[in-house]
Amino acid sequence: MAPAIKPRIRLDKKEAKVGDVVEVKALVSHTMETGLRKDTSGQTVPRKILNKFTCTVNGKEVFAADFETAISANPYIQFKFKARESGPVILTWYDDDGSTIVGEESIKVT
């Protein structure tokens, strides 16, 4: 497999008060091959997508998604969570081939 893909993740704030809404924006490079497309020789290109995404804050899942083939290439996801505890914000994308793409940020809650 190609070298590990590094997702681009942005939190709109690094420090928050309890109850503040934190916005997460994340972009990852991936072709999200649908399995419907044919290459120039007429062969169907096999499906290869990121089929699942999760976000945990301090080990607790705050948001998750199951992606289908109708998610665009280089999937972008933006969501929000309410700040409760300081800790790592870990975003994980699960590939059809079993590999994962992991990105980590952190949030400090005061």
Binding site: L36, F63, D66, A70, Q78
Partner: protein, 152 residues
């Protein structure tokens, strides 16, 4: 009318009279094109979603179906007592109906998501939210796609 009922019997079952009547005004979705009916049935366990609480934000016209920005939010206090469990997004004319399923929890505290989706052509995008009490709410919007984005 009887023809429509025959062809869309499952729609009437799945979405109920209120939904189909109000959707009728903007052109009822042609749900027969893909597996949208089955997916909705399975997701709602046969319940009729009410057209409320869900806000679906997509452009009216998309020049490029390969990447269409979409924001979906659900009105909910997002507490342990009342929260959005799952949000299903469908496209009724795509080769496969399901676009994505988003899972929320009171730990997250906000039921809002923005992503970019692929649309194979002019169609309806449907968002259905399932609450923790298993009630279902929906929103649907037509979108005109100039160039499809599903390849092939």
């Amino acid at each position: 009318m009887s023809l429509i009922v025959d062809r869309r019997g499952a729609l009437a079952l799945g979405l109920g009279a209120t939904a189909s009547v109000s959707l009728g005004g903007i052109g009822a979705p042609a749900f027969a094109a893909n597996d949208a009916n089955d997916v909705i049935q399975k997701f709602t366990s046969g319940k009729k979603p009410t057209e409320s609480l869900v806000k679906l934000d997509i452009p009216e016209i998309a020049e490029n179906g390969a990447t269409v920005p979409m924001t979906v939010s659900v009105e909910s206090p997002m507490t342990e007592q009342s929260y959005v469990k799952e949000l299903l997004v469908l496209a009724d004319e795509n080769p496969r109906a399901t676009v994505a399923t988003f899972r929320f929890s009171p730990l997250g505290g906000v039921a809002e998501v923005n992503t970019r989706i692929r649309l194979g052509g002019t169609q309806h995008v449907i968002a259905i939210a399932k609450m923790n009490d298993d009630s279902v709410h929906m929103a649907s919007k037509p979108i005109k796609v100039t160039v499809g984005g599903c390849g092939g």
